[in-house]
């Protein structure tokens, strides 16, 4: 699942190289909280998500697996040996943009797709989640389907290059995770995209 990815991208903005905070985050990651069904009425998310991990932080600190994850977290931005993170490597490019109401992967993204396919074939344990997104025009449910179609189109591009389904998961956020919301075409085209996200990133 991409649960960790989204959680982490939210948390990364809060990471201020504080070990205590890192441990709390690790605890949060390692506890079932991440996949716990949301409380029926979760009125104070800030208090709830800060308080709960703090209670379990002590237990998590002696859990070596959890601590190890913190190391990965804190190095995430600085790992120049990781080709996926190297801004000079095409593997750090993850966005594929689409035309309006279209799931056609444009020719300009061929080098990007080929690079990730090559990486996946060389690293059989690696897994990607392809997240489809759309602009806000049209209905939410249809956009959910359209976002899925985009993620499937990217998956098929990988399949054609020999990557098996076991290394790829397709999901859609439809129009619900628009990154740009100005309402006109400049924003809309940023939202018509699929994001390639590696598991455990």
């Amino acid at each position: 699942m991409n649960g960790h990815i989204w959680k982490k991208s939210t948390w990364n903005s809060k990471l201020v190289s504080s070990l205590a905070l890192a441990l709390i985050l690790a605890a949060c990651k390692s506890t079932p909280m991440v996949d716990k069904p949301a409380a029926v009425e979760d009125r104070s998310p800030a208090v709830a998500s800060a308080a709960k991990p703090a209670e379990t932080a002590v237990a998590a600190a002696v859990d070596t697996a959890a601590v190890k994850e913190v190391v990965i977290d804190s190095n995430a931005g600085a790992n120049s040996n990781n080709p996926l993170k190297d801004p000079n490597n095409i593997l750090s490019k993850r966005q594929i943009y689409f035309d309006y109401d279209s799931d056609a992967v444009k020719a300009e993204y061929r080098p990007l797709i080929e690079a990730h396919a090559k990486y996946l074939l060389a690293n059989r344990a690696a897994k990607v989640i392809v997240q489809g997104n759309t602009d806000e025009r049209g209905s939410r449910e249809y956009n959910l389907s359209l976002g899925q179609r985009r993620s499937v189109a990217v998956k098929k591009s990988f399949n054609l290059l020999g990557v098996q389904d076991g290394q790829i998961e397709t999901v859609s956020f439809g129009e619900e995770k628009a990154t740009a919301t100005c309402g006109d075409e400049t924003c809309a085209k940023q939202n018509r995209r699929a994001d390639i996200v590696y598991e455990n990133e």
Partner: protein, 423 residues
């Protein structure tokens, strides 16, 4: 198209309560004239934040069928039929008058009584009495509005029904249930992740909805009393729940590793059955009232259009041919009309298509209108619109003549679903 709608309107009204000659609706300017109606402020001895006559007035006004008369200039304030001076109401050109009173009873209870009167015939049309707990004034006002509406139109009133919608505030999403006038809003569930596609069970006790709380769309069913279960959490996306009319199963949309397809599943999460098998997008299922058909949107012909398929699966028939594309079908409660969102030249607007004739009536000016939902009597539709980055709901009469906007202060609301009549 308007002539067809008006004819339907006249037949239904003419054969029922409007057989009273004095209350017949006149047609002028291509539309039905509103019936002039006066609600005399009820005598209300107890202090209450809820003004019962104002609530009744607002309900009936919103229906679009009545011209609500200002009563402040009338000398007398009758609270019982015996006190009515008919000349005053004839002078006001009222065709019907409602009078009533609220009296305190021992044990923090109230006695609410009202009478509805035909002014020209000087005869009583309806009379009701309610013995209620003191905090039930507002729901009782809606019941009285329902009774007046039913007596004057011959159709069920909808003022006691409830609506559900999703509110986005401070980056959080809340599924809320409110009275049909927007009051008494209660949050059923809230989350940091999006919630979409609420759908009422036919008995009004549960709502199915899609939540992204596990970072992908999953369908939940939640009772109004707060019990929450997962209906569908299959690989890929799980979305677009639609209850069958008998409430035993739902049409849903699943993707697995491919495109959206229609399935049915029992309300307890068992017996998953594929309904469509295509390489296209098939989504937004909605049932015909007899349960025989599922209407849905699909891009199998290129751009998305509305299609229908037998609810057990089978051949697919195309239903819409006009418009650049059509989305979000909803069948009217009588099964005769299909509401949908049409894109014409980049504008998304609500339209109503008569299924038998294919004739189409435009219901909204258009822009970013979406998510139509029929009132249980089919007379009004609720839809979502956007102004700037804020969402609001609009209630529009099914003849397109009366519109009313429902806002939530400071909030961004969307995804309306009109609940069933609870009798």
């Amino acid at each position: 198209m308007p002539t067809v709608r008006i004819a339907v309107f006249l037949v239904s009204l003419g054969l029922s309560a409007f057989a009273h000659a004095a209350l017949e609706i006149e047609i002028s300017g291509g539309g039905a004239q509103q019936l002039p109606l006066a609600i005399v402020p009820f005598t209300q001895s107890n202090p209450s934040p809820d003004n019962i006559s104002q609530i009744i007035n607002a309900d009936l006004k919103r229906s679009g069928l009545f011209r609500m008369l200002e009563t402040a200039g009338v000398a007398s304030r009758p609270s019982d039929i015996s006190q009515i001076k008919y000349a005053e109401w004839v002078a006001l050109q009222a065709q019907a008058v409602a009078v009533g009173k609220v009296e305190a009873l021992p044990g923090n209870r109230l006695n609410v009584s009202f009478q509805l009167v035909d002014v020209l015939k000087q005869s009583q049309l309806a009379s009701m009495q309610y013995n209620i707990a003191a905090n039930q004034l507002r729901p009782t006002a809606h019941k009285i509005a329902d009774a007046i509406y039913q007596k004057l139109t011959g159709e069920d009133g909808i003022f006691s029904s409830r609506i559900a919608y999703v509110a986005k505030l401070n980056g959080r999403y809340a599924l809320r249930v409110a009275d049909v006038d927007g009051e008494n809003a209660v949050t059923m569930v809230s989350s940091k992740e999006p919630i979409i596609s609420p759908a009422w069970s036919p008995d009004g006790s549960k709502i199915a909805y899609v939540s992204f709380e596990k970072k992908k769309p999953i369908i939940f069913i939640q009772t109004l009393s707060g019990q929450r279960t997962v209906l569908a959490s299959f690989k890929g996306n799980n979305s677009a729940p639609a209850w069958s009319p008998d409430g035993t199963k739902l049409a849903i949309v699943l993707t697995y590793g491919a495109n959206s397809q229609l399935y049915t599943i029992r309300a307890d999460g068992k017996d998953l059955q594929a309904v469509t098998k295509s390489s296209a997008i098939d989504t937004e299922p909605t049932w015909s009232p007899d349960g025989a058909w599922i209407y849905f949107s699909s891009d199998r012909g290129g751009r998305p259009q509305i299609y229908k398929v037998a609810s057990g699966g089978g051949d697919v028939q195309r239903v819409t041919f006009e418009g650049v594309f059509n989305l979000s079908p909803r069948v009217s409660p009588d099964g005769k009309f299909l509401a949908m969102v049409r894109n014409d030249g980049g504008k998304y607007r609500l339209v109503l298509q008569e299924l038998a004739s294919g004739q189409v009536q435009v219901l909204s000016e258009g822009g970013q209108d979406e998510s139509p939902s029929f009132a249980p009597n089919g007379r009004v539709l609720l839809y979502a619109t956007r102004s700037g980055d804020k969402g609001a709901l609009v209630a529009v009469s099914s003849d397109g003549r009366v519109q009313q906007r429902l806002n939530e202060s400071g909030g961004d609301i969307r995804e309306p679903a009109w609940g069933p009549l609870i009798k």
